[in-house]
């Protein structure tokens, strides 16, 4: 690899690139968000840092750059990168260390790249800020090498482009190039692929692994999803409520996870390869400052004993290279329970369709859907799968009556259905409900949950007052929320709770067809598992579901039938097990190959 030229070979005596000991980060008032964190990373090693929202993983990632977000402070501990004690550095010395010793790749490349600067300028600026000794020729050579390494073209035409002229995957490669161009010893990546499609994600991960191995760069990869990092990392560090609860090699962690939380996480991840019982972890993580005494996970743990709430368990070795902070760690291999297959497809398709779409076209400034026809049988869960730009959301919106530029025929229960919600009869309008992807934008921040939920009641059924309050309490119970939530505003709810309120708003309209647009993609895996369980239960009660998603694991977990969309056309449809086990279309096969899975090696 040409990029190795000019790069000092790692000193064999000190292959330990990152050494963190007793790191502690506090919020105002000595509330810790991170405590007692110690670990190390070798040159060329990739460490996966896994945890759900609020676990402190991003706080740890930024602390590795000696940075704490506003309101937080690194109060104790050491961070050594290539022998440099980072936390003692200040001002210019710290600025030089960031970048030249440590590279950082942020979550969303679309906002991390300055939209006003060309790619070439970004790279040159980064180089000249840190490595002044390089002359123009050497600079140009370094930039081309790096661009080729991350799999981008290095011609002048590409260097003159602006970030918005690149695809999401290319933007993230530019971020990788910006980190690697300085030849750092350590690179920190904060969920760099969450905004990307599965096939793009697979390519980026492969590139990253190749670069780290060939350049001997240590990497810390932050993620909330164990399945994503399975093929990338060498070692995994699981975080919960600001503590490391388990650290193990990849093989040990995925085959013999020892901490109940790790096992819970693994059991919550839907898998493409086979349909499994998804088990959600009950309850939610303690907020900073509300940590119970003893083990932070005790309240949610099925194996807790009295001793758990007495003292905080320390990390202890359970097997060579595997440490766990638990008084009673699991010692046997993890058995994931396979559930029975999906229902017979023939049975549901025979009946007259609840929804019949014929020749649907949608065009904005360009056409996004071409002559799409499909049928949804009553009582089934139909998954609509595709990558970004496949037109799956446009299709779902057109069915919901939000598509402004749609043409074609919709039939609902045999009747013609208008493409504009406003022109539909109130009688059918309440039967088709839509749940949005982002629970943070789907609820009016200025209305209490009670107001949000009683609006449709008054609107569709004329129900007000005490009866409305009873109905709201009933529907909240149906989505497993306490009735006291009714008095709250959305900002005091977690993402999962908000999504439950959004589902409750749909349910209170007494729908027959529920359109779910990527409703779990913004949620943690354990929350996702509980939402999926709720949807399955609703389906068992007779609801028809149209589930839009890019995640084939979720499809396997919940759907009966699947429709695969590519560039606005249906490329394959059929029963879930049939399509996922024996895909016919090449595109479906690519999607399957790139989907992260827990099964196999």
């Amino acid at each position: 690899m040409n990029a190795l030229a000019g790069f000092a070979a790692p000193d064999p005596l000190s292959t330990q690139v990152l050494q963190v000991s007793d790191l502690r980060v506090e919020l105002h008032g000595q509330v810790d968000v991170l405590s007692g964190v110690s670990f190390s990373v070798q040159a060329g090693e990739i460490l996966g840092l896994v945890g759900e929202s609020g676990s402190g993983k991003t706080t740890l990632a930024t602390a590795l750059l000696a940075h704490a977000r506003r309101g937080a402070r690194i109060v104790d501990g050491r961070v050594e990168v290539a022998g440099q004690a980072l936390l003692t550095l200040q001002g210019d010395a710290l600025r030089r260390a960031r970048g030249s010793l440590i590279g950082y790749v942020a979550q969303d490349p679309a906002t991390a790249l300055n939209p006003a600067l060309r790619i070439g300028y970004l790279l040159r600026e980064t180089l000249s800020a840190h490595q002044v000794q390089l002359d123009r020729g050497a600079q140009r050579q370094r930039i081309s090498e790096t661009l080729r390494d991350v799999g981008l073209p290095d011609d002048p035409d590409f260097l003159r482009r602006f970030p918005h002229q690149l695809s999401g995957g290319q933007q993230q490669r530019v971020m990788l190039a910006l980190a690697f161009v300085l030849r750092p010893r350590l690179i920190v990546l904060d969920e760099p692929t969450t905004a990307l499609d599965v096939s793009t994600q697979a390519h980026i991960l492969a590139t990253l692994r190749r670069l780290c191995k060939s350049l001997g760069v240590a990497a810390v990869y932050v993620s909330h999803d164990l399945a994503v990092i399975k093929d990338l990392v060498d070692r995994v560090l699981v975080m919960y409520a600001g503590r490391i609860v388990e650290t193990a090699s990849r093989e040990a962690l995925f085959s013999r996870p020892a901490h109940p939380y790790t096992r819970g996480l693994l059991a919550a991840i839907p898998d493409v390869a086979q349909r499994r019982e998804l088990a959600a972890i009950a309850g939610h993580a303690p907020a900073p400052g509300q940590r119970p005494a003893g083990c932070g996970f005790a309240a949610r743990c099925p194996r807790r004993t009295v001793a758990c709430s007495l003292a905080e368990p320390a990390l202890q070795e359970v097997a060579p290279g595997q440490q766990v902070a638990c008084l009673d760690p699991h010692r046997q291999a993890l058995q994931l329970i396979a559930s029975q297959g999906s229902r017979q497809v023939g049975e549901v398709v025979e009946r007259p369709p609840l929804l019949d779409i014929q020749g649907l076209n949608v065009a904005y400034d360009r056409q996004v859907l071409f002559d799409v026809s499909l049928r949804v049988a009553p009582g089934e869960c139909l998954a609509l799968v595709g990558e970004s730009g496949s037109g799956k959301t446009s299709l779902a919106r057109a069915i919901a009556g939000l598509g402004e530029n749609a043409q074609g025929q919709l039939y609902y229960a045999g009747q013609v259905l208008s493409l504009a919600a406003r022109q539909r009869e109130a009688g059918t309008r309440h039967q088709i409900q839509y749940i949005f992807q982002n629970p943070y934008r789907a609820l009016n921040p200025r209305q209490t949950v009670l107001q949000t939920l009683s609006g449709p009641l008054a609107h569709f059924f004329g129900i007000k007052g005490d009866e409305a309050r009873e109905r709201v309490a009933a529907v909240l119970e149906r989505v497993s929320l306490p009735a006291s939530v009714g008095a709250l505003y959305p900002h005091s709810l977690s993402g999962g709770e908000r999504q439950r309120v959004a589902i409750a708003r749909a349910l209170i309209c007494q729908p027959r067809l529920l359109i779910c647009d990527e409703i779990t993609s913004a949620l943690d895996v354990s929350v996702q598992a509980s939402i999926l369980a709720l949807l399955r239960q609703l389906q068992a009660e007779g609801l028809t579901l149209l589930f839009v998603t890019h995640d084939l694991g979720v499809v396997r977990a919940i759907a009966d039938r699947v429709v695969v969309l590519q560039h606005g056309r249906v490329v394959e449809q059929g029963g879930v097990d049939g399509v996922l086990d024996e895909p016919q279309a090449g595109y479906t096969r690519t999607l399957l190959d790139n989907s992260p899975t827990l099964a196999g090696g």
Binding site: L402, H430, Y434, P445, Q447, H459, F460, H491, R505, C509
Partner: protein, 279 residues
């Protein structure tokens, strides 16, 4: 003091906002109750022209020998009610039109935006002067013209904020439910853009007092011998060096009122910008 941050009074949680409320209310109370507190009538000739402050007349006498304190206590009502009325009318009309424009985003939007842009091209004071000099100086007419001058700004603010909110999913959810347009405008969108509008309302109060005083100063506002803070500054400017209190007192009160409404508006903006964020 108990924690207000979780209640509907959360916007009062900042000390600055509370100070703003107190200052504004004090000036309003002074203007409202002033006529009863005043030791003399506003048009009683009592002392010498530009007479210095004495024990009986704390702020001295003005250009005709009126008691400055009495005129000050009588002169707040007109300027305050007129600026409040003008700002309120502008807020009402402007936010309705702006909401309509921001939500419809079609021909109606273009029309309203175009009208607002055209009228923004006129300088406020010139526009008001033009209308008042043509149609007369009746108080309701002055209020109306000041409101007209303020409305385009409100339209643009409301439209801009509404566009950002109208794109959010909860508005689409309301559309899907088939809620009426007015319900979506006033129940779903309006509460979410109320903060910038309230801040703007505070600013308009300040500008209104300034503009009305300016009109009086130029001789187009309230007619003498009525007591009015703006008019007082105008009347007594010749004696500024001899008897500064006749000019300074009303000017200081206008300044205090402007300061109070300003920090009140700013405090509201600051405290409620956090609502609706991720916790």
């Amino acid at each position: 003091m108990r924690d207000l941050s979780a209640t509907r009074w959360h916007w009062l949680a900042h000390t600055q906002t509370r100070n703003g409320v107190v200052i504004t209310l004090l000036v309003i109370a002074l203007a409202l109750c002033g006529p009863w507190l005043a030791p003399h009538g506003p048009t009683d000739m009592l002392g010498t022209v530009y007479g210095a402050p004495t024990a009986g007349a704390w702020l001295g006498y003005d250009f005709l020998g009126h008691d400055v304190l009495s005129r000050l206590l009588n002169g707040g009502r007109s300027v305050l009610w007129m600026s409040v009325a003008a700002a309120a009318i502008a807020l009402l009309v402007g936010s309705t039109l702006g909401l309509l424009a921001g939500f419809s985003r079609r021909r109606l939007d273009q029309l309203i935006t175009w009208l607002a842009d055209v009228s923004l091209a006129f300088p406020d004071l010139i526009l008001v002067l033009l209308i008042v000099s043509m149609l007369g100086r009746a108080p309701w007419l002055i209020v109306l013209t000041v409101a007209i001058a303020f409305t385009p700004g409100v339209i643009r603010l409301a439209r801009g904020s509404a566009v950002a909110v109208a794109g959010q999913e909860f508005v689409e959810a309301a559309q899907m439910m088939g809620y009426s347009r007015w319900r979506i405008l006033f129940r779903e969108i309006l509460p979410n853009i109320l903060t910038p509008l309230l801040v703007h309302f505070g600013n308009m109060l300040t500008w209104g007092v300034g503009m009305l005083s300016g009109l009086s100063f130029l001789g187009y506002g309230v007619a003498p011998p009525t007591a009015d803070w703006g008019l007082m500054i105008n009347e007594n400017q010749a004696g500024l060096l001899v008897q500064p209190w006749a000019v300074l007192a009303p000017a200081v009160l206008i300044g205090i009122f402007a300061y109070g409404t300003n920090i009140l508006a700013e405090g509201i903006g600051r405290s409620s910008s956090r609502i609706g964020e991720k916790p």
